[in-house]
């Protein structure tokens, strides 16, 4: 079963992976060009990892998987902008 959440739900894993708070970072979808803060991404967290989709075009923009206590983040279509 998958259930729609948002980027707040993966904030801890993202912090652990990036070494900083990520929910307020803006990411640009490479599929449709929409800029959203990470907290507003659509997150499906019941898969073996978490899948984040663009809230506008639904493209998979980020995949987060924890293996052996280590968090791996893949960004297939998200351009993270440098924090202000």
């Amino acid at each position: 079963m998958t259930y729609l959440l948002d980027g707040n739900a993966i904030a801890g894993d993202l912090f652990a992976a990036f070494g900083r708070e990520m929910t307020d970072v803006v990411g640009k979808c490479r599929n449709c060009g929409t800029a959203s803060v990470v907290a507003e991404l659509c997150v499906y967290a019941r898969a073996p990892g978490a899948v984040a989709r663009c809230p506008i075009c639904d493209a998979v923009v980020m995949v987060v998987v924890t293996i052996g206590g280590e968090c791996h983040v893949h960004l297939p279509a998200l351009e993270l902008q440098e924090p202000a």
């Binding site: 259930y3 948002d6 980027g7 904030a11 801890g12 307020d24 803060v37 507003e40 019941r46």
Partner: protein, 249 residues
């Protein structure tokens, strides 16, 4: 107080449960003593990790219910039937126990008393938890900002922090409005039914008053409330949302 953790520093630490408080028949607060706590902002959460004897781990996020000004870090956990983590936290954990915690986490769904504008909080069920941190922060810092809480629960008995919310409503600058969706007591003068577009029209400040809006609850509740706010003319960029669902169990 260090507001932001240093880069790369989000380590698991053992927190000792110093008190537990039954809030409703389903929700229980755990007061934690965390020796390495850098301080938090109202609206942030922590992750909790449980490890079974065979090494299997389950991890969930829980909003912080206490204000930055409060002693200790309080979490309020809603017991989800069949959940992997919440029944353990509400039914098994006792004062003196230790649990693994990392945090504080979150830089988006946060409110600070230095921010301008009226503050509009809209919550469903245990979505009240981060709002409670914001309300307590508001009461402690007491900025010249009006605050209004619109909270939806199934029945009056399901309203977490009910007594505290009633005390808060006694402030001139604070307004608490409760919507009961399933059962209401005889003579109930609050809203009956869900928080919908009509209710929000009467209860939310107009967009020209530039409210800062926070919405937290189950996904369906958040989507409906946020959509109704935008239909009523609120600017999407003033609305911050946090959703939770069965994975929070």
């Amino acid at each position: 107080m260090a507001r932001a953790a240093l880069p790369g520093r989000l380590n698991w630490q053992l927190g000792r449960v110093v008190d537990t408080i039954q809030q409703t028949h389903r929700a229980k607060s755990l007061v934690l003593d965390l020796p390495n706590w850098p301080g938090h902002r109202a609206g942030q959460h922590v992750d909790i990790r449980l490890t079974s004897d065979d090494g299997y781990q389950a991890q969930r996020g829980y909003s912080i219910a206490s204000a930055p000004e409060d002693d200790g870090v309080t979490l309020t956990v809603d017991r989800l039937e069949g959940g992997e983590v919440s029944p353990y936290l509400t039914d098994v954990v006792e004062p003196g126990d230790e649990i693994e915690v990392r945090g504080p986490i979150g830089g988006y769904f946060v409110w600070d008393a230095s921010l301008s504008g009226p503050l509009l909080l809209i919550s469903g069920g245990s979505g009240i938890v981060p709002m409670r941190a914001m309300l307590r922060h508001w009461a402690a810092a007491h900025p010249p900002v009006q605050v209004r809480l619109l909270h939806s629960a199934r029945s009056l008995d399901d309203v977490i922090y009910r007594d505290e919310l009633m005390r808060l409503a006694a402030f001139d600058e604070a307004d608490v409005r409760i919507a009961l969706t399933r059962v209401w007591p005889e003579g109930w003068r609050g809203h009956r039914g869900r928080i919908d577009r009509e209710f929000l029209l009467g209860a939310a400040w107009a967009a020209k008053d530039q409210p800062r809006i926070y919405v937290c609850g189950p996904t369906g509740f958040v989507e409906a409330a946020a959509a109704a706010l935008v239909e009523n003319g609120q600017r999407p960029e003033t609305i911050k949302t946090e959703r939770f669902g069965p994975t929070a169990g």
